[in-house]
């Protein structure tokens, strides 16, 4: 199987690997780099669990091939904070009980990171619209909206 050498800067560190062209970015992050914070749910762009930032913009990691990220910058949920040093968005999720099983959480956090950057999120409707591409099967949306609302209030 032919492979291709790629260099991807993930969470600030350059990684050089030979990959098959059909390797999804989500599998590259999890399988090749061992960054299992990015979750894989549906693998066809519906659930949003695998959302990462590519050159600063949120993207579905299951709808891209790792080769396409050659030379790009990827941020995963591991870039946000650490245990004991959560970033403000993670801290707000913690305080508002915005996660139950936690499976959707990495995608919710990365999506919210991009939403906070690009939209005023002046109303809860706007937050809900922004989150509509991320499924939480515990259906804990209320707390997730509240957590993001608190971050929006904090920044204004």
């Amino acid at each position: 199987m032919s492979t291709r050498d790629i260099t991807v800067t993930v969470n600030g560190a350059a990684h050089r690997h030979a990959v098959e062209p059909r390797l999804l970015l989500s599998d590259f992050l999890r399988g090749t780099l061992g960054l299992t914070g990015t979750h894989v749910g549906c693998e066809h762009g519906v659930c949003g669990a695998c959302t990462v930032l590519l050159d600063g913009d949120s993207m579905r990691a299951c709808l891209m091939f790792a080769v396409q990220a050659d030379g790009c910058r990827v941020e995963t949920v591991e870039s946000l904070g650490r245990i004991g040093q959560l970033n403000p968005l993670q801290q707000s999720f913690h305080e508002h009980h915005a996660l139950q099983c936690g499976f959707c959480t990495p995608g919710m956090l990365m999506t919210a990171t991009d939403l906070l950057k690009k939209y005023p999120l002046a109303t809860d409707d706007e937050i809900r619209e922004g989150l509509s591409g991320n499924l939480c099967r515990c259906t804990g949306y209320e707390h997730i909206v509240a957590a993001i609302r608190a971050v929006v209030k904090e920044r204004t």
Binding site: H44, F65, G133
Partner: protein
């Protein structure tokens, strides 16, 4: 769900992309990939070659050029959504873009890809019809222009040969005294439309001189150019929209039944949405 193996070619120019397409019999172009990659992951498609056009320079732009606005095929949905040029000349398109999928998909998906894919419930084919877009199509043997009204043939089927790609979408600026309306119902914000309608009304002497109505989700392709547009000529909508106009909109549809909605529901819905969109356009004209 993992794709079958394929050979991967990074095109650094349109010429290289179309030459690669001409060489391999079953090659596919990958732009944003937001519709293509799910089909690859499901193995509904197993092309032997993928030609990646994401690194072609100068193919993502929105620029004014006299009486038209030119949009490069690689322009991402979020760029269109936030483009001041689009907001100034085609506010109806700005409104429509907010309904296109979700931010993570708008960040990656492209206008050329969406039009070439031609999902029966997508917004952009409808907007291309509404705004009388002309598509520039290139192959190894040359370039041609095709009007949006001739481009969409059937569900997921367009006037594009296997060795051709869309490189640019040209929108003529709207005439003065034009109002617009957009109305959509989807199960969830960002989902494909159960039905959506976009309209423009151009007034002359206080009456409708030109009406354009386009819809999506209610036929194998986006639909425009219906009898309803002709019925509206010369009318005023101060007292609402005549029922014969709404019925003409409904008559132009062939809605599908699926688990989200019945054909009957969609046909009813598209009439209601047309009424709302026309009322909004009248108010803005």
């Amino acid at each position: 769900m993992k794709p079958a193996a394929f050979e991967y070619i990074v095109a650094d120019s349109v010429e290289m992309a179309v030459a690669s397409l001409a060489q391999a019999g079953d090659a596919k172009i990958i732009a944003g990939g937001q519709s293509l990659v799910p089909m690859l992951n499901f193995r509904l498609l197993r092309p032997s070659v993928l030609v990646d056009i994401n690194r072609i320079p100068n193919l993502a732009y929105v620029r004014e050029d006299g009486g038209v606005v030119r949009i490069g095929a690689l322009t991402r949905h979020h760029q269109l959504e936030t483009s001041p040029v689009i907001a100034r000349h085609f506010p109806v398109l700005t409104e429509a873009m907010a309904h296109v999928a979700h931010l993570a998909i708008r960040n990656r998906g492209t206008i050329g890809g969406s039009l070439s894919h031609a999902d029966p419930a997508a917004e952009l084919p409808m907007m291309a019809l509404l705004l009388d877009a002309e598509l520039r199509v290139v192959s190894a043997s040359g370039a041609r222009a095709v009007a949006a009204r001739d481009f969409f043939r059937d569900a997921l089927s367009v006037d594009l040969a296997e060795d051709e790609i869309v490189t640019e979408v040209v929108l003529p600026k709207l005439p003065p005294n034009t109002g617009w309306g957009f109305a959509e119902v989807a199960r969830r914000s960002g989902d494909f439309a159960l039905a959506a309608v976009a309209v423009t009304l151009t007034l002359s002497d206080g009456k409708i001189a030109q009406a354009r109505i386009a819809m999506t989700g209610v036929a194998p392709t986006a639909r425009g150019g219906t009898e309803a547009e002709r019925l509206l000529i010369g009318q005023r909508l101060d007292d609402g929209v005549d029922s014969d106009v709404i019925e003409a909109v409904r008559a132009a549809t062939e809605p599908p039944t699926d688990l989200h909605a019945s054909a009957e529901y969609r046909r009813h819905l598209v009439g209601v949405l047309a009424g709302r969109a026309l009322a909004a356009a009248w108010g803005r004209a």
